[in-house]
């Protein structure tokens, strides 16, 4: 590390060492900030300006001096963007709901009930979590094909739930373990039924757990390209990631529209980052996200 080396020589007096280290840290931080944000800035700069302004005179101008909605207008008028977004929203919402519900139920069951093969179940869930979506996509494609389910919201939502569920189940499984059983027991003693206790005592406490689970399931479904590419082959059923991925091959669509659609795709995840950041970090801490 750059700020470690200065100290290793330790010829310099302590306070100068400290100052050099401080400057090095701040410089690194600045560098990082630029490295991380600059590409995002580029996306925004190209999305909100007309291509004529950005590519004027052969060189790329990245200072935003004239904001226009031209790129978005073309996107909405000349492509199926609205349709793709609708498909994405339907599939993401269904998959998020399914994955979270499944995770809450399974997580509670796996935590509160003892049965043989629990270790095996844990390993199977973790193993599935590390699995490659494309490897799962091939047999799912053949199965959906045989059942006549290709190009359906149901098939894609199921497939995406398959991808997110191992982690959401794992997360809830871990999360329910942090809730002491004594809370439930005291409710039972007071005469509440198990179901009632689950509903009124356990679920409210588990809220941070299932919020981070649903954020994860949302991110998996919203960002997915692989499953949608395999399951949805009709233009009408493309999700936004598949639909937009074909933009670059089209002559009528340029970087302006491509970055505009990118910006639109980013809005939901950004809103989540803005409002639910702490839950997201919690998810990271429990099991690491993909």
């Amino acid at each position: 590390m750059s700020f470690g080396e200065g100290a290793a020589g330790s010829v310099l007096p302590q306070h100068i060492q400290q100052r050099v280290k401080r400057i090095a840290v701040i410089l690194t931080a600045l560098l990082v900030a630029v490295f991380v944000t600059f590409p995002v800035y580029i996306m925004i700069a190209i999305a909100v300006q007309s291509p004529a302004a950005v590519f004027e005179g052969g060189a790329v101008h990245l200072l935003i001096d004239s904001v226009t909605f031209r790129n978005f207008r073309i996107l909405f008028e000349e492509t199926n963007t609205v349709r793709y977004f609708t498909n994405s929203i339907i599939v993401t919402a269904s998959s998020t709901l399914m994955s979270t519900a499944l995770a809450v139920a399974a997580g509670y069951g796996l935590t509160r009930f003892d049965f043989t093969g629990k270790t095996l179940a844990a390993r199977a869930v973790l193993f599935a979590y590390m699995f490659s979506p494309i490897v799962l996509a091939i047999p799912l494609y053949v199965i959906f094909y045989t059942l006549g389910l290709l190009n359906s919201y149901f098939a894609l939502a199921m497939a995406l739930t398959g991808i997110s569920a191992p982690f959401t189940i794992w997360l809830m499984w871990q999360y329910f373990q942090t809730i002491p059983i004594s809370l439930e027991e005291s409710a039972w003693i007071k005469g509440a039924s198990r179901t009632r206790t689950l509903w009124d005592v356990v679920l409210p406490i588990a809220r941070p757990g299932y919020i981070s689970a649903s954020i994860f399931a949302f991110a998996v479904a919203w960002n997915d390209f692989t499953m949608a590419r395999v399951v949805m082959s009709s233009d009408k059923m493309y999700t936004i990631t598949v639909g937009a991925s074909l933009f670059l091959d089209r002559v009528t669509i340029g970087w302006g529209e491509t970055m505009a659609v990118s910006l639109l795709i980013c809005i939901p995840p950004f809103l989540i980052a803005l409002f639910l950041q702490n839950y997201l970090l919690q998810g990271f801490n429990v099991g690491g996200l993909e």
Binding site: M1, G4, G6, A7, A8, Q17, V25, I26, A29, A33, F35, V36, T37, P39, V40, I42, F55, V60, L62, A101, L102, G109, L110, F113, F115, T119, A122, R123, A124, F127, A128, M130, S132, I134, V135, L136, I138, P139, V142, I143, Q174, S193, R194, L198, N223, F225, V230, T241, A244, S245, L248, W255, T258, S262, I265, C266, I272, A273, L281, G288
Partner: protein
């Protein structure tokens, strides 16, 4: 409460318990069976057939022999290893550097932390769009700058030249996944007792010594996990490479997942595709055995 009543209530209690067990376990088992066990079992079965979607003929392990002895299998395996290893190690280093910086109490540290989450949240497609633009030979900012400083004379088409395609894919991957390592390492760093550093300082240890003797040992487990788990995920990654290079140019970035897709949907060879998927499955299972025996991640569950 009379004995009859308490007996009755304990019965309903038991029934409810069983009901709840069923209500929670059945969806889990059913879903896992439908979406995981059956497809994987079916894929393993398909991998033993010739022409599994048409007039299927049982061929035993022939598809596996075919894949493993094909002249390009070692190449694609090598690409997978190069891609997984370089993107994992680089994003670990980037994440470690950033986590160390943010962990220093500098002004704006929390802003930096919030910013770090951006690349991670951008969908893969958007990450690829952005990097395709930056590295584009005609409009790309990087080429423009490199020419301006006089480092190169002609623009480089990073994603479509043999020499640069893999590094370009790795850069985009590191940019997106550096934050993964960052958050895991930052969490570990913040859990280190500050008194340890105080004591080391009093005893005259240099910054480097403190890093080597206090920080690094605390991060060891996290670093191993990142190398192993991130490595598996990068080995299995399909979308980043497919979206940026389609495996090209001239197969220079074709990894095993890309090859599985090609075999299934371009060559329409589902036997070969599932056999290769099977090989990936067994590779993953092998690494998973190591992962489970070293870290025992499921142990917390069964305690």
């Amino acid at each position: 409460m009379s004995t009859v009543n308490s007996l009755k209530s304990s019965f309903t209690h038991l029934d409810e318990r069983q009901l709840l067990l069923l209500a929670t376990f059945i969806p889990f088992a059913a879903f896992f069976t439908i979406v995981w066990l059956i497809p994987i079992g079916y894929a393993l079965w398909m991998s033993l057939l010739h022409d599994p979607t048409g007039a299927a003929i049982f061929t035993g392990l022939w598809n596996y022999v075919d894949i493993l002895t094909s002249s390009d299998f070692p190449t694609f395996l090598w690409h997978s290893i190069v891609y997984a290893l370089s993107s994992t190690v680089l994003s670990l280093l980037v994440g470690l550097g950033l986590a160390l910086v943010v962990n220093q109490e500098i002004q704006g540290g929390s802003i930096l932390r919030t910013m770090m989450i951006f690349p991670y949240l951008l969908p893969t497609l958007v990450v690829i769009f952005i990097w395709k633009f930056i590295l584009d030979p005609n409009v790309g900012v990087l080429n423009q700058w490199l020419i301006q400083v006089g480092y190169i004379e002609d623009p480089i088409a990073f994603f479509s030249t043999l020499k640069w395609a893999m590094p370009a894919v790795v850069i985009a991957s590191v940019w997106k996944f550096g934050s993964f390592s960052f958050f895991i390492l930052l969490a570990r760093l913040q859990a280190i007792d500050p008194n340890l550093y105080e004591r080391a300082r009093v005893e005259g240890a240099s910054t480097w010594q403190a890093f080597r003797d206090i920080t690094l040992p605390h991060l060891r487990g996290a670093i191993l996990i990142i190398l192993l788990v991130r490595g598996i995920w990068m080995f299995n990654k399909f979308d980043i490479i497919y979206l940026s290079t389609r495996g090209g140019p001239l197969k220079a970035t074709t990894t095993l997942p890309i090859r599985v897709y090609e075999l299934a949907f371009e060559a329409v060879d589902f036997g070969g595709a599932t056999a290769l998927a099977g090989i990936m499955f067994f590779l993953l299972a092998g690494v998973a055995v190591v992962y489970f025996s070293v870290f025992e991640p499921e142990k917390e569950v069964t305690h």
